[in-house]
């Protein structure tokens, strides 16, 4: 029997996989932030429940956008990013969750001589609260969820290089999310968020404003027994910033993009364990790699913490 409550846990994780990783991965021929669908989904954890996930993702591109025109750079070749991501979510109350994530990222260019970059990227922490829930009975259920959190660099990684794992800015983020669940396991979700990024000081001694951004996600999904699938569209729009160019600090670039992808999840015969596979594609962008990403994860719910 797959109860809705526990299913939502899985769903939650799934969303994470694409995203934490995502939030995580920045790299570039131009410092390029990766697939972030945000770490916030439309399902609450449930009081005292803990879900954890460990995912691996691989992302690569050989062309990137300078401004909004795609270029290739033979002196960098294919830029590849691999990352391992830890994710955990805990339900403090039925209406309030804590969500945390920490990725370890490694980025490399296929050509040229720039040194590979690796290290813990940014630690993310969110409080997520369900503000409104309206049950329409046979025609479905509406949830409105708000979330706020912060992102802190988890190591002293290098923010301003052609191959980098992140921008090293401290961020604050707020999101508002609507989710409508139909009977038969179908749901639609839409969310909008604002990411405030604080200035950073580069190794060359210069202080740089890292642009704030608006972020939007829409998702449609379906679950049946212990299986789950969704498709998503994610857009991020920098509020200011520069184009990639000689001497222009990468963290100050105006990074915008539209990405799409899907998640697949299946519970395993072993209790409390599941696996997922995800892909994401860059449809268009500015000052970011035209990357494709694959990722896979194992998800585990701690049974001993679940109170009856």
């Amino acid at each position: 029997m797959f109860k809705l409550e526990s299913r939502s846990i899985y769903l939650h994780f799934l969303h994470f996989t694409m995203k934490a990783i995502a939030i995580a991965v920045c790299l570039c021929a131009s410092s390029i932030f990766s697939f972030s669908q945000g770490m916030i989904d439309g399902f609450m954890r449930g009081k005292s429940n803990v879900t954890t996930a460990l995912s691996y993702s691989h992302e690569s591109y050989d062309s990137y956008y300078v401004g909004d025109s795609a270029v290739t750079n033979p002196n960098l070749g294919v830029i590849t990013t691999n990352s391992l991501n830890l994710f955990a979510s805990y339900g403090i109350t039925p209406y309030l969750d804590i969500v945390v994530g920490l990725p370890y990222v490694s980025a490399n260019s296929g050509q040229g001589y720039w040194a590979k970059q690796k290290g813990f990227q940014d630690f993310s922490f969110y409080l997520k609260g369900k503000a409104i829930e309206k049950d329409f009975g046979a025609i479905g259920k509406l949830s409105i969820i708000g979330a706020a959190g912060f992102v802190l660099p988890a190591s002293d990684y290098i923010p301003d290089a052609p191959v980098a794992i992140g921008h090293h800015s401290k961020n604050l983020e707020a999101r508002l999310l609507f989710q409508y669940r139909l009977p038969l396991g179908i749901f639609v979700m839409g969310q909008g968020g604002y990411i405030k990024r604080y200035n950073i000081t580069l190794d060359r001694g210069m202080e740089v404003s890292v642009p704030d951004a608006w972020d939007y996600v829409v998702r449609m999904g379906y679950s049946y027994k212990s299986y789950y699938a969704d498709v998503w569209l994610n857009a991020q729009e920098a509020r200011s910033g520069t184009d990639i160019g000689p001497g222009v600090p990468f963290p100050g670039n105006a990074i915008s993009y539209t990405r799409a992808g899907f998640n697949l999840y299946a519970g395993l015969p072993i209790k409390n364990l599941g696996v997922s596979f995800n892909m994401g594609f860059t449809l268009s962008g500015e000052n970011i790699g035209k990357a494709t990403r694959y990722s896979s994860a194992i998800v585990y719910n701690f049974p001993f913490l679940i109170k009856k």
Partner: protein, 501 residues
């Protein structure tokens, strides 16, 4: 049924707070208004670089201060200075930091803007020069020399005509910057504005309008500051024009036009072939790019050329020799296990594409010391001119050595050596950073003796940054710095005899 959890309202509030608090981009550091520590009344007798004969500069004798013409000018000045708006005051304050310092900043900004490598194989575009480090060294030298020589001439005229500063003869003027005790005719900032504008326009023809606007603003600011009348400014402009023309003529004949050497005559000139250089340097860029300015080593030096070329470094260890392999091994070790601090240092001193270049970095360091010391315009220009001539000469010797020995970069010999900075597209031995930094630190240490040891520490760090970056051997640094420091001594010898001590 709707369940509403009031405690989550904070989230919505936080969201709106986030949206409303916009963080500003840090302001450009403001410079203090300089109240010069001395007038240098005898600066008119200082030795000029380009042997300027003031008799050839057509500066008219000024009208007496009791003349009607001057009184009209003075009245205009009092009106402007006493009714200046806050914006005009801000502009006057800006230029009161020093015209030489401000034009040096403008030059650095333009170098950064033009420090972009053209596409491989693209024909030279005179309106869009590539402001690489050798180009920049030459530009900073020329600008500083034009400013310095023009100001030496200006001081001569100032004390010849002795027109008192307007703020001492008219009431109602609150002077911003400069010294009321300095004779006002010709206006020193007008000299600098006009000389700088002309020199920079010669090198960056596409910036003509931008430079004219800056020069106009600089001159007008001296009225708002209550410092100079129209005839002071006009006389200054005449000096600026005359000296800039002499400087530009010097530039036209300095052999820089041969430096790009598209036909690779340098291979013959330096006798580079399979026998003499069995492991020649090659471009590591894709596609391969011709080496940067192979004949820059033959450009005319500022200090005595025999003495300058006498500082040439010895031959480097042969590629493959045990001495060579030891230093290569060191680069590899750093590349394999580069610390965060080593990366920081590599990046701090990189001054690569799109920046004001390493010579520009040393101009910034010099500027900070000058501003702290409250130098007047002519002493400021002297410091920059001494340093920038020496920096260019060190660059010339460095480039001569690079193409003479044609030593490959570490990554060419060992492709596993990965870098923390871009690999410059010219041979390795000696290091440009080490040469530029060694010479600048020695000269500045002479001008600012209490900072000498710190300056040498910075020069060492700048040189090491290239080893940490993985693009230079230690012997590149050591020999580059050595040669730079010897050229620094030539500059010091000049400084000791120029009459400014």
């Amino acid at each position: 049924m709707i369940k509403f959890n009031y405690k989550y309202i904070f989230i919505v509030i936080l969201a709106s707070v986030l949206q409303s608090c916009k963080e500003d981009i840090p302001e450009v550091a403001t410079l203090p208004i300089v109240t010069p520590s001395g007038l240098d009344e005898n600066a008119g007798t200082w030795k000029s670089v380009l042997a300027i004969n003031t008799a050839t500069i057509p500066v008219p004798a000024p009208q007496s201060i009791s003349s009607a013409a001057y009184q009209t000018e003075l009245q205009e000045l009092v009106t402007l200075a006493s009714s200046r708006t806050s914006q005009q005051t801000a502009i006057a304050n800006f230029w009161a930091a020093g015209s030489v310092v401000r034009w040096n900043e403008i030059a650095r900004d333009l170098v950064a803007k033009y420090n972009v490598a053209p596409a491989v194989g693209a024909p030279a575009n005179p309106s869009k020069p590539f402001a690489n480090p050798p180009f920049a060294a030459r530009l900073y030298a020329l600008l500083s020399v034009a400013q310095y020589d023009a100001l030496v001439a200006t001081w001569k005229f100032k004390y010849q005509f002795n027109r008192p500063s307007p703020s001492t003869t008219a009431s109602g003027i609150q002077l911003i910057g400069s010294s009321a005790a300095l004779p006002s005719y010709p206006a020193e900032q007008a000299v600098v504005a006009e000389a700088s504008r002309k020199v920079l326009e010669f090198l960056f023809p596409a910036e003509k309008e931008f430079l004219q606007a800056k020069a106009d603003e600089n001159m007008l600011s001296r009225k708002w500051a209550g410092a100079n009348t129209q005839s002071d400014l006009d006389a200054g402009k005449i000096i600026g024009t005359s000296v800039a023309n002499i400087a530009i003529n010097r530039l036209k004949g300095d052999r820089m036009k041969n430096a790009a050497d598209p036909n690779k005559t340098y291979l013959t000139y330096f006798n580079i072939n399979e026998t003499t250089v069995p492991t020649p340097w090659k471009s590591l860029e894709i596609p391969e790019r011709a080496g940067m300015l192979p004949l820059y080593g033959l450009v005319k030096t500022w200090y005595d050329s025999t003495s300058v070329y006498a500082t040439q470094p010895p031959p480097p260890p042969a590629v493959g020799s045990s001495e060579f392999m030891k230093d290569l091994e060191e680069v590899r070790k750093i590349s394999d296990d580069r610390s965060r601090e080593q990366w920081r240092i590599a990046d701090f001193w990189a001054d690569g594409a799109g920046t004001y270049t390493p010579p520009g970095h040393w101009n910034k360091i010099a500027q900070d010391l000058i501003v702290k010391s409250g130098f007047n315009e002519v002493r400021t220009a002297r410091t920059f001119a001494l340093m920038n001539r020496a920096v260019m000469d060190a660059g010339i010797i460095c480039w001569y050595t690079k193409y003479k020995y044609y030593i490959p970069r570490p990554s060419q010999i060992d492709p596993k050596i990965k870098t923390a900075t871009g690999i410059p597209n010219f041979p390795s031995y000696t290091s440009g950073h080490a040469s530029f930094s060694g010479v600048a630190a020695i000269l500045l240490g002479h001008i600012f003796p209490d900072r000498a040891s710190d300056l040498l520490r910075q020069a060492d760090e700048a040189a090491l940054s290239r080893l940490y970056g993985g693009i230079h051997y230690r012997f590149d640094n050591d020999k580059g710095k050595e040669s730079g420091m010897k050229i620094g001594q030539l500059a010091i010898a000049w400084a000791q005899a120029d009459g400014a001590n």
